[in-house]
Symmetry: C2
Subunit: 326 residues, 2 copies
């Protein structure tokens, strides 16, 4: 399977690393908006190509993995590239998924290509687990906890405050709330009861730390609804202890079964990730394999993780799965 | 979707309860080898029918859920019933799955029916999670822990010992081993290091308890390779505290990603079940729904959980999934 990577940030680099772990997959080219001469990649056999030359690769790439941002890149890129390629993206603006799906489905279907949107872990593996668990336990309730992990969006929001040089924000699940859920207590939880927010902030010398702290903890949407802690640290300490991009979380479904709902059942899917973008990339690569297989069976149009059977994600032959993995 | 339940033990009863939780599913009949007059079911609208009359229901049932034992029932029943019905079973003799698959595939395909074997949680949901996690993290290692839960097979083995009136055996995961795995230490674990076995035994009055205990802990295959504890209790205490059928466990995949495998990633799928047969039944019912949908798209032959896309498990319309569950 021949892969193109469209966009070479953290996610694109993660895809390149994931390709190296899978012998059935080959990287053909990385497409970048930057000057290709300035972009160093890890794969000597692959090319670095300016995005405006992408159509030259139309018949050389089986699946194009689009590694752009959800805010402005993907709504344009995915429907456009689906005219000429089988494509996959990690579109994660939950509220706009139906619109994005319709746009991508139109161009992919019209041009006989297959596309898959919103691959990754949330949306992605968490979505699959929410759907499967809710189907298995219809008399039940879903909980999603995130973290402990870095939220890029919240870190950026802090960095925009006057007097802040750098910042890192961790989203943390409230252990007590998770334990109540796992015990099958079916609690009603407010936003504040589910997650806390830890902020590590590098301030300019002489900045008013009280004002910065106050601006953070009262910021609407981002922090006001949470118990937020702010710790001022040096740039050196931030670089030393907070440069990783860990994340994770749990999807928990609790439900009841039996004649009178007398038996509690709990399903939990939990991720503990040292690198959020690399894990996302590893998931995307599996789904790229899946749509490549599905396309070979004549399937076109826009798909999601909900449409993909587990067997299509794996490079293992079906007979071997039956004998050793079922 | 019209369902038949073939066999009315703990699993068949669990399926009946699960059907009540799903408004798109209707129970038509329970088929039993016993005298139907002696079998009381929970669904007034459904019939109880002797198994030798099953062919009269050929056009009245969309999916037949076969609730027999894996040792002798299912290898006969599933291929035979697949001649006239879409069928699903929970065949769990891992080593014989390829043979069972081939037998069922032959009769289902020849007669234009669809079949799904080995649904449940292991094989079943655990298999799906082993496969998906190994595809996502190819540079990694799988661990499956079971329990704490009742093993019917081990309880039966104890009951066959001379002087034993009743027994209940719990399989328990070793917490320390699980924590090493979750920490990404990739330990090599022996059988003894992964699970312990707790036995609660009711002995005949005057029986030689030391001999019974010794026969249990040295029993090959069942107990000899484990740290096994034996506790003698009264029948009253067993009835009071050990009549439930809880089970569960975790499938854990640990792997590495990144340029030099520098980042650890952990995926865990965990079940905590008050009732093993009712949960198994709830999973089977979802897969019954899935094969019914797949059949309506013209798919026939034998399938497994590896062939089923998540969307087919759910009664929720696809548009709603996109808008609210992705």
């Amino acid at each position: 399977m021949k892969i193109g990577i469209y966009g070479y940030g953290n996610l694109g680099k993660g895809v390149e690393c994931a390709i190296k772990q899978n012998s059935d997959v080959e990287l053909v080219a990385v497409f970048t908006r930057r000057d290709p001469a300035t972009v160093k990649i890890l794969t000597p056999e692959a090319e670095v190509v300016k995005t405006d030359r992408v159509l030259e690769y139309k018949d050389k790439i089986d699946v194009m993995i689009i590694c752009g941002g959800s805010a402005t890149d993907l709504p344009e890129m995915t429907p456009e590239l689906a005219k000429n390629f089988n494509v996959i993206d990690s579109f994660d603006t939950h509220a706009k998924i139906p619109e994005h799906f319709a746009n991508v489905n139109k161009t992919a279907t019209e041009n006989g290509n297959i596309a898959l949107i919103s691959a990754g872990w949330d949306p992605g593996m968490f979505s699959v687990n929410r759907l499967m668990a809710s189907a298995i336990l219809p008399a039940g309730k879903d909980y999603t906890f995130w973290g402990r992990g870095v939220s890029q969006g919240h870190s950026d929001a802090i960095r925009r405050i006057d007097g802040v040089l750098d910042a890192r924000q961790y989203t943390c699940p409230v252990e007590e709330a998770m334990n109540k859920v796992r015990a099958g207590e079916n609690p009603e939880l407010t936003t504040r009861e589910k997650h806390t927010r830890e902020c590590f902030v590098v301030a300019e010398e002489g900045a008013d730390l009280e004002r910065i702290k106050n601006e953070i903890v009262t910021m609407p949407n981002y922090f006001a609804d949470y118990d937020t802690t702010v710790t001022f640290i040096s740039q050196e300490e931030l670089n030393l202890n907070h440069k990783g991009i860990p994340h994770g979380g749990s999807v928990i479904r609790t439900g009841v079964t039996g004649k009178d709902g007398e038996n509690k059942q709990v399903i939990e899917y939990k991720l503990t990730l040292d690198s959020n973008p690399e894990f996302t990339a590893s998931v995307i690569l599996c789904y790229a394999r899946a749509i490549y297989k599905m396309k070979s069976r004549g399937i076109t149009g826009c798909k999601t993780v909900f449409d993909v059977a587990p067997a299509d994600l794996s490079a293992i032959p079906y007979e071997e799965m039956l004998a050793h993995m079922l």
